[in-house]
Symmetry: C2
Subunit: 471 residues, 2 copies
Amino acid sequence: MEAIHDTAMRVLEEIGVAFLNPEAVAILKHAGCRVDGEIVYMGRDFVMEMLSHAPEQWTITPRNPDRKITVGGNHILFGNVSSPPNYWDMEIDRKIPGTRQYYANFLRLSQYYNCIHFIGGYSVEPVDLHPSTRHLDALFDKLTLTDKAPHAYSLGPERIEDGMEMVRIAAGISHEEFDATPRMFTNINSTSPLKHDWPMLDGWMRMARRGQGLLVSPFTLAGAMAPVTMVGAVAQSLAEGLSAIALAQYINPGVPCAFGTFTSNVDMKTGAPAFGTPEYMRATQITGQMCRYYKLPMRSSGACAANVPDGQAMWETSNSLWAGVQSGSHIIYHAAGWLEGGLIASPEKFVMDCEVLSQILRYFEPVLWRTDPGDLAYEAMDEVRHNGHFFGIQHTQDRYETAFWQPSLSDWKNFEGWQAQGGVWTAERAHLLYKRILEDYEEPPMDPDIRAELTEFVERRRAEGGAPTDF
Amino acid sequence: MEAIHDTAMRVLEEIGVAFLNPEAVAILKHAGCRVDGEIVYMGRDFVMEMLSHAPEQWTITPRNPDRKITVGGNHILFGNVSSPPNYWDMEIDRKIPGTRQYYANFLRLSQYYNCIHFIGGYSVEPVDLHPSTRHLDALFDKLTLTDKAPHAYSLGPERIEDGMEMVRIAAGISHEEFDATPRMFTNINSTSPLKHDWPMLDGWMRMARRGQGLLVSPFTLAGAMAPVTMVGAVAQSLAEGLSAIALAQYINPGVPCAFGTFTSNVDMKTGAPAFGTPEYMRATQITGQMCRYYKLPMRSSGACAANVPDGQAMWETSNSLWAGVQSGSHIIYHAAGWLEGGLIASPEKFVMDCEVLSQILRYFEPVLWRTDPGDLAYEAMDEVRHNGHFFGIQHTQDRYETAFWQPSLSDWKNFEGWQAQGGVWTAERAHLLYKRILEDYEEPPMDPDIRAELTEFVERRRAEGGAPTDF
């Protein structure tokens, strides 16, 4: 850990990070960093002092305060797949551009599943909405169809300011109440190697000033935009991410931040990105050690390279998710619905992933026998002895309803029973299940006055032209 | 751990274990155990003294000494699925009884894959072979089509004696050499709750006397033949397994043993067994702690309830396998090819599982940067800085060939590339791959004289009638 830390610090001190945002450069220069054009060199003392302000644990309180989440400590939070431009489902069986309708369906699925704790970026990009006002309609849908902790994109001033204002309106709170505690979060990606772009830095700084949740996730593909070795790629990702966190902490000491890992490798024969590989898992877990070293909450992802929700999709995603939770990650992004390296969102994959997520959450529940010695079951064994079975005894009757995780998509019938019901493979069952969920979905309640205010805001901003689309 | 240990010991002392084998009962009575008919009560002092003789680490040397394996320590060993009565592949698309031909194909797959370290029980039961002589033909195939560490079934005296003799002949060694170090292994299952049957105990004791590898794996389904709580089910499995190990150690102190977990849960609505669930994972890991407590090598399994090699099959199997290796298991049985709770063997599932196994093995390789500081990649980052990429630089060129795990079944192409090649889902790709492997398979060399001696033995024993089939 010391060697990786030292490497990251040397990179910050001697190679520097490009901040393609003059305001950010000016702030860091004011903070005492050496600056050469866009390149900012940060001393390790400065970085570590800034990191010392970052809280180890923080909360996000969405419009429904019962959905408040805690980032850090022993908490594990899962969110929907974010930002694929394309959509695939079994009925369409083609890769097609995302639409508002598909996007809204993913919001409904995200609201429905208890194992989804926060609403990340757009599960699929609603490309039928004009880019200048897409964020307004998409956030309107997010804030009305769900009541969980919301994300807004840091893509320049208008989008993030609109996002913060809409989250505030949806929660029915004052500006002071909004600023007092995190109500939402954003996520930025560095432009590896060692560069932060203008619009993301702009949103980052605006969110920092208002004390909202900040995630930075360098996309460091080893062998492409990062060193071919996983420890080298992690060191680079740390330099990139910690430099953004240092900036946020200088602007607003104590602002809640988390470090996101998105370090994977490429296929060296083709350059294709890979996910859920042994290298991906190891990079995630190395990063977990480093986040504990820096006392920062951590983000990782559920990811795969597979193009359809088949066996490969599930072994790659299982690898990603287990590495994520076992690395000590607090926030697992893209935990449901991801295909094709993040280029496709699929509702079948979404419900398949949720089946895995609910198992992971169950796995991490405390082992109850610490509090109930009856669970050691000596008396039960003494009752059944050598020739009985445990189905009918009181010890079983007292516990069977909660003893085991209950599946919602898995089929545990034997082959004949499964065949008698049509012999349906998992992805097809998932197709039927997601449609049933959409039929059963109920919109979370929202005060009509608040809804009207939100609608009015969207219409006003639409009339004003929304946000520029030229970057 | 102390509470689980104490529960297991109380079960052994006060409830006792039924040994349905008069010879075993007599031996244990001679050892000082209290005996009441078939029930043997073992004091914890006796059990712990017997366990103190069991080695923490041992080897199996098959006919090809280069394939020698070490059981225990930091070694992880994978084996093929064992004992399904039925076969399924995508072309047949039905569940059909196993045959010698299918069985031999699984042997070829097991020989082919480097991630398969030992040959367990029959990957599919060759039911076209007569039960009285099936073991002779099946072992002949195993010993000629593979040269990895072999298993033989403990099903009464004839089968296990034939098995030992055939392994000895195949290795071209004397009886003394055979007895000097383990050349093979067996696995017995208790008849839960708290019972060992006659034929398995018979084979167990014969193998113990000749110093061969012994695995005992209680099949303790929580809520059915074991308590509904996982700690209770683990405690029962320990009582069952440790009682067999104590017997073996009394017969031949120091004989190599391993404890196998096969604790899972049932669906409490239907009674159907489940595998790869959160409860399965936790039971496996609790058992891992207990095996370290007893200083015994451990066996676990790759298992699933799914009926076909789809998404569910892979998330359940991934859960099983990761829980297995992370519990500290040394031997992972059923690691490739298992479907339908062990009732079906599938060649597609076999090659899909091997893709996961090779990733697990890669994941556990040492992190090289401990020995090569260049892996920290400071100089590489200094060379590329803020605008380049790492593809072409020397640091990458020096490492790219071994930097990342290489897939053999995974498709990492993007959707369009994948579609252009037919849009083939994982299970279908696995179908094509297993057929290609069978075409490429090469039989490991065997001395013609040894092969003749083996054939002669099989024919003589066939003429003698083989083994009884009335139990």
